[in-house]
């Protein structure tokens, strides 16, 4: 999930266009892995500081732009078994399906619905996509507190018109993203608690702030693993239905 949310940052151009793209290519290169697994805890802090907590597992096969991912909720019991299959494409928006065990069927997430919130959290279905660095234009904006500030503009259909992202100069990790649409700032994502896992700097905590609703979602990642054996058939609709 953290990798997916990093994808929001892949964006920039103008005088420092080459530099900005090179920075992002380096970010992507340093994040490279053939697969990933983690267990996550999600806390949605809504109005009146009401907190809803859920847990899930996530598996990914492949890398930016052509990866496949399966997410499964495990806790609480009411949502256990609900799964999401994401198939990313280098040249177009991803395909996404939800598996709903209670009614025994999958449901395709329509492209028009990608901007809707992901099950009451503060990020959207589109935010779950992993987009390749080549799917954005970049612009270097300057340096702030030990980080480069870049502007990204999606080349293909997106709910966002542009975004700002901050990349730490010392380890090429994205620490913050601001996403904008025509009306203004929509989301702010902060990445915290970085650790190296198998040589990859990985944020252990991500906080998403929905500016319009003024609510927050905090994601915490456990049991993070990279480059573990995963097979293609485990990332299909059949596998999603089987709960593999």
């Amino acid at each position: 999930m953290n990798r997916m949310l990093f994808a929001l940052a892949l964006v920039a151009s103008c005088v420092h266009a080459q530099d900005a793209r090179q920075i992002m290519q380096e970010v992507q290169k340093r994040q490279h892995s053939t697969s990933q697994h983690y267990e996550g805890t999600l806390e949605v802090i809504g109005g009146g500081n009401r907190i809803a907590t859920k847990r899930w597992t996530f598996d990914r096969l492949g890398d930016f732009g052509a990866s496949k991912g399966v997410l499964r909720f495990t806790v609480p019991a009411e949502v256990k078994g609900v799964g999401l299959l994401i198939v990313n494409h280098p040249d177009r928006a991803s395909d996404q399906w939800i598996w709903r065990p209670a009614i025994g069927r999958e449901q395709r997430i329509a492209l028009q619905d990608r901007s809707t919130r992901f099950f009451g959290t503060d990020f959207s279905f589109e935010d779950l996509e992993e987009r390749d660095v080549e799917q954005y234009d970049y612009k270097f904006l300057g340096e702030e507190a030990g980080a480069w500030k870049l502007q990204s503009t999606p080349r293909k259909s997106s709910q966002y018109t542009y975004g700002y992202l901050w990349v730490k100069k010392d380890n090429y990790t994205i620490v913050k993203i601001e996403s904008y649409n025509k009306k203004g700032l929509v989301r702010v994502i902060d990445y915290r608690d970085f650790e190296q896992v198998k040589g990859i700097w990985t944020a252990r905590t991500t906080e998403v702030h929905d500016v319009t609703r003024n609510s927050r979602t905090i994601l915490k990642y456990d049991k993070l693993e990279y480059n573990i054996p995963r097979k293609d058939p485990d990332f299909t609709l059949d596998a999603l239905r089987r709960g593999a």
């Binding site: 949502v79 009614i103 329509a110 619905d113 009451g120 279905f125």
Partner: protein, 846 residues
Amino acid sequence: MMLLRLISWPYARKHRLRWMLTMAGIVLGVGVFVGMHTANQSVLAAFRETIDKVAGTTQLQITAGEPGFGEEVLEKVQSVPEVRAAAPVIEATVSTGQGNLLILGVDMLGDRSLRTYDLEGTDEAIDDPLVFLAQADSLIVTKTFAGRNGLQVNSRVPMRTMQGDLIFTVRGIMKPGGLASAFGGDLAIMDIYAAQKFFGRGRRFDRVDLALRDGVTLVAGAAKLRNLLGPGYEVSPPSSRGEQFEQTSRIYSLASNITSIFALFIGMFIIYNTFAIAVTQRRSEIGILRALGATRSQIRALFLTESAIAGSIGSGLGVLFGILMARAMASYIGNILTDVYGVAQRADGIQVDPVLIAGAWAMGIVTSLFAAVIPARAAAYVDPVKALQKGRNQALSEGESLLRRWAALDCAGMAVVAVVFSRSTVIFYAGFVLSGVAAVLLAPSLTLWLSRVLRPLLAVARPVEGTLAADSLIQSPRRTSGTVAALMLSLALVISLGGLARASYDSLADWMRIALNPDLFVTTAQSVTSRTFVFPASLGDGLRAIPGVDEVQLVRSVRVPVKGGPVMLVALDVGSVERRAKLPPVEGDAASMYRRTERGEAVLASENFVRLHGGKLGEVLEIAAPNGMLKLPIAGIVRDFSDQQGSLLISREAYIRAWNDDSVNVFRVYVKQGARDSDVRQRILDTFGKQQRLFVLTNKDVRDYVTRLTDQWFGLTYVQIAVAVLVAILGIVNALTVSITDRRRELGVLQAVGGLRRQIRHTVWMEAAAIGFIGLVLGLLLGAVELYYAIEISRRDLVGIDIGYAYPFRTALALAPVILIAAFLAAVGPSESAVRGSLVEALEYE
């Protein structure tokens, strides 16, 4: 104005009761008209309002008749660049302990682009959207429904689904207003994929709602979608669903309009009668006025103004009465339309249409004025000299009678000619009106003649009282004829509608005997017309395996657009139906038409479809289906009462191919010889009843249901008939009151010379009975004619079925005591007034 103050006002004050009765006629007439229209309009408005509120920001809706269409259509629509948002919808109405609940199955992920879900106690659309989606039992209900049923978040709601009896959980409560106020607030939201499962819809949607991108016009968007989807799909704004329902329920509106206008027409006779009497009574006054220089136009204007005032007050009160009546009737009518057409209605309040109210008020005044035209003219032409002569003013002059008789004969003759040339609708309806006019014109002469016939009979019964009563009628036919005409018209209405109802019941019974002959019917609801839930076809195999079951027929009934209107398509095993329940052919070769239909090469059309939609044997019908345009000839015309708008019988296989829908509404089950229906019914319930929503109705249950539906259908007509009769009875009270007043001196003299109170009473009672009897005789005769027109109107413009002429003798027999008792009751007040008045005042009268 001065004449009104000096002449009219004192007269009205003196004859307060009569004016009140006069106005009661117009109050009832206008009231019934306003009540029926307002109630009908309220039901339609509530339906349109529900559509509007449910539609949200939807600009276009894609439908394919009631069967809906497969899920793949949604992706096609969503891929159109002009479409900003498209969301699938399933609508279902389920019965709860507290009445009907409209369940809207939506995809909560995309639906919020079109509809706003404003929930209580949270800024979220749903408290936890993931739980809502993960748990198929999730429901969002409105605050109104929650309040009515004491529900809160996490409360349990039991529901009988195609998966059996389930408990649903309230996971959100919508604030009142907007979507939450649709269907009177009795609305719940369910995930659409859960709805598919629980309502047995397979992987189908009822429709897709969509909004277009900015800058795309409705016309351009609709054209693009039509090109993409083909002719089997309708692409239209949400409002067109309201229009379709209005089209479906057209017959009901038309029928109720006819009877309510009739009530107003009868009210007109009461007014006519009152003014005719007033002119007669005030002849001397008019004569004096004329002698003092009042012009004819002033006299005419005086009476017309009086009439306009009476009409204005009566209409105003009638409007108020109608609104009260509409309040009481709206939900009743809504339920009838739900049962008859299978389209859920919810009309809690009423929608008062100012145009209708103004129109009804104006109509009441115009009716009053129209009724007063002849008396006003008569008043204007009063000869001052003759006006002073007493005793002859209630009589009809020979010239006047002759003129009326000739006019009546002319009208009757033209009505007969109109029957010969009745192919033309205009000529037919002209004939209908002329027959009524002829009867009305003949009424005074016939009243006089019948009074003379009655005189010796009454004299035999009571020599003094009978003779006096008969003479009163003979000497004053003008006083009585209006009342008799009103009574005649209302009784003719009773006979014609009663006969129509009787003939309908008989035809229906014949049809039920043939078409509804299975021993058991396995349905998804107690109401046979409900099409909310559907069975999977596989249940048919399960039913066949039940011991004692001989044969199972699968029936799918859906309303689809044919010839520009919604028509019931009945898909069934035609071969099996031919063997078991062969409908008699009205046209076509009985041997081949079923075979061709079974092979999917043709359809069978019902008699009323052909009449109402203009089809004919051999005509190739174009039926738009999701898999393309079906072009099937009409192989035969049969008598089928499945639907008021007509029905088309098609082979089940052809239907499945064209609509990709193999679901079933009803399984018709034949029980093996020797097996008991009740045992087989119990076995079916034991085997499948707990697994899914299922009702097993016996043959009698279904017949009773159809009969009950028909009773409900005619129920409101009966109410209108009752009002018409009541108006006519008011006329009797009016006529008797006038008669008593006119003969006050005469009755006073009778008492003075030793006449007993009992005799006075009997005189009035016998006069009332004679009026009732004459009205009854004329009404029963005119009813015979009107029944012909009622059956023809029904055949041509209402249900399209030739139900055959049969005079309702039982109704006629039942009417006799009712009218005579009513006449007696109408006479009680006037007779008491006659005997209890001061003798001195009576002798001083006039």
